[in-house]
């Protein structure tokens, strides 16, 4: 069996040294009021959530930490989905891209079990906009986002 395969999101969180099972919370609870940015009709498919920013603050205080991780049941197992709740201005594009780069690096070096759940999802990173989105879809910043592997920001993520 490959490392991480068939594990649940909760187990993967527990096996990540930087986190530990106590940071895992059921449903969308770790997102607090930011859970308003997530819509899902089949809540039984949620595999819990982690406030990554809070959990990693003491270990990486100066790093551009990503906000949240979610478990989501898809097909035969659970996948990890990563959401950053952030204002969507053109000036924030580079900030969010730096966060994504940091997250990818952290997954590869410090969270291989969670990384394996992430790899089951084709594009698992989402920028959820607080307030208005001030980036036009034809803008260089929108193309810069695409080039970094990040979708155009949305205000609400619909998990299906």
């Amino acid at each position: 069996m490959k490392h991480g395969e068939s594990l649940t999101f909760k187990q993967a969180v527990a096996q990540t040294a930087d986190l530990g099972e106590w940071v895992w919370q059921p449903g969308l609870q770790a997102l607090g009021t930011d859970s308003q940015h997530i819509q899902c009709a089949e809540t039984q498919r949620l595999g819990g959530s982690v406030n990554l920013d809070e959990a990693l603050k003491s270990r990486y205080p100066a790093e551009p930490r990503w906000d949240y991780a979610l478990g989501w049941h898809r097909g035969s197992g659970e996948v990890a989905i990563w959401v950053e709740v952030h204002p969507a201005y053109t000036g924030e594009v580079e900030v969010v891209i730096r966060k994504l780069q940091w997250l990818r690096n952290w997954l590869a070096t410090s969270a291989p079990v969670l990384d394996s759940l992430t790899k089951h999802e084709e594009n698992p990173f989402f920028w959820l906009a607080t307030g208005s989105v001030s980036i036009t879809k034809n803008s260089p910043q929108a193309r810069r986002l695409a080039k970094s592997g990040l979708r155009y920001p949305v205000r609400v993520l619909r998990l299906e």
Partner: protein, 383 residues
């Protein structure tokens, strides 16, 4: 007039447009945008249209004949007498009896710059109303007639049409020079008693109409239309004209030149005109979106000036202040025959029709999402 509603008119099953100071119509081809705008002119200018046709000895016997003359050959069937409904500010009007009224005002109140404007100049010569076939759309013939009057009569003693001192603000003229004409001037060359438009370069090098760039050929009739609407001196508006329709102002133009046209459209608003545009240009919508965002988030005249790289002189400041107070509306003419208000232009709206700006940015958004997925997949595979 605050709103115009139609049912069962050409491809439009049902639609109501509440006009702003600037109203944009977007949507795919053949969804009825142009028909709707022509109907708007017909409702506003019925008396003037009838008078203009009669001035050229054109007569008609029925509503169908009149509609063929007005909308163009083969178009009368789009108005179905038993089914088509038209309402102004919520009150239904019966077009047949409305058009048969004998005491309608005849002054033109809506100036229409049609999409076919490039055809109003042939080899640099303007064309009078009678130069067209009876089956050609009235709005094309009427626009052509205005340009003919302007060039052959009003500017009879003028040798250079652009740049021209006193016509348009200096800042606008500089933008037009930079983004449309380059180092050329739009001049009049008298050939066999006819006044022909040419571009003149250094050393009086003359470029005839057919060697102009596609954008220049499109822009010149638009510029002349704006000259018609912007009289010299301190007069803000032409005659009784209150409304301006411009179809696809972006036609043939580079985005930098489209910005100049957008600026000139805002100048029309400042002068008190109500303007309706049909457009396929995301660039035009971006300008309206920016104005909408400025209004929502307390943007200032300095922000608007920055958008267009305008200087901070008192006249331009005043212009920008006025533009921030105007109302902006956007309607999506959909392929299912309905019309939808997408004025918020929220790129993150849950409704894809609004988020995709009536289909104008959907493709860009899809490109971004597919590219981001490919990049993400590649990063995952190499990790």
């Amino acid at each position: 007039m605050k709103s115009l509603s139609v049912r069962q008119f050409g491809p439009i099953k049902e639609g109501c447009v509440e006009f702003g100071d600037l109203t944009l119509l977007v949507g795919p081809q053949a969804t009825g945008k142009s028909l709707f705008l022509q109907l708007l002119k017909l409702v506003i200018d019925a008396g003037g249209i009838k008078a203009e046709l009669k001035r050229f000895n054109i007569r008609w016997n029925s509503l169908a004949d009149f509609l063929e003359l007005y909308f163009g050959e083969g178009m009368s069937a789009l108005y179905r007498e038993q089914e088509t409904e038209t309402a102004v500010d919520g009150e239904k009007i019966d077009l047949a009896s409305y058009l048969s009224k004998s005491r309608l005002p005849t002054e033109e109140r809506l100036f229409y710059i049609p999409a076919q404007r490039v055809m109003t100049i042939r080899d640099g010569l303007t064309r009078p109303f009678t130069d067209y076939r009876a089956g050609d759309p009235f709005v094309v013939r009427a626009f052509s007639e205005r340009l003919h009057q302007l060039v052959q009569t009003e500017f009879a003693r003028v040798d250079q049409l652009f740049p021209q001192e006193g016509k348009l603000r200096r800042e606008y003229r500089q933008f037009i020079e930079r983004h449309v004409f380059g180092s050329f001037q739009l001049a009049i060359d008298v050939e066999r008693f006819q006044r022909r438009m040419v571009l003149k370069g250094a050393g009086d090098r003359v470029l005839p109409f057919l060697v102009w760039s596609a954008g220049q050929r499109e822009f010149v009739p638009l510029l002349l239309g704006l000259y018609w609407l912007i009289p010299s001196g301190k007069v803000s508006q032409r005659g009784e004209v209150e409304w301006v329709v411009i179809e696809e102002p972006e036609m043939g133009l580079h985005p930098k030149a489209i910005s100049v046209v957008a600026l000139l459209v805002l100048e029309l608003l400042r002068r008190g005109y109500r303007v309706c545009l049909s457009t396929h240009s995301p660039h035009v919508l971006e300008v309206v979106w920016a104005l909408h965002m400025f209004q929502l988030y307390s943007g200032t005249e300095a922000d608007l000036r920055e958008l267009f790289e305008l200087p901070a002189n008192p006249a331009i400041r005043d212009f920008a202040e006025v533009c921030l107070k105007k109302s902006y509306k956007v309607y999506y003419f959909q392929q299912d025959g309905t019309v939808r208000d997408i004025s918020a232009l929220d790129p993150a709206a849950s409704d894809v029709r609004e988020a995709g700006w009536g289909g104008l940015t959907e493709f860009s958004a899809n490109i971004s999402n597919v590219v981001s997925r490919v990049v993400s997949r590649s990063v995952r595979q190499t990790a």
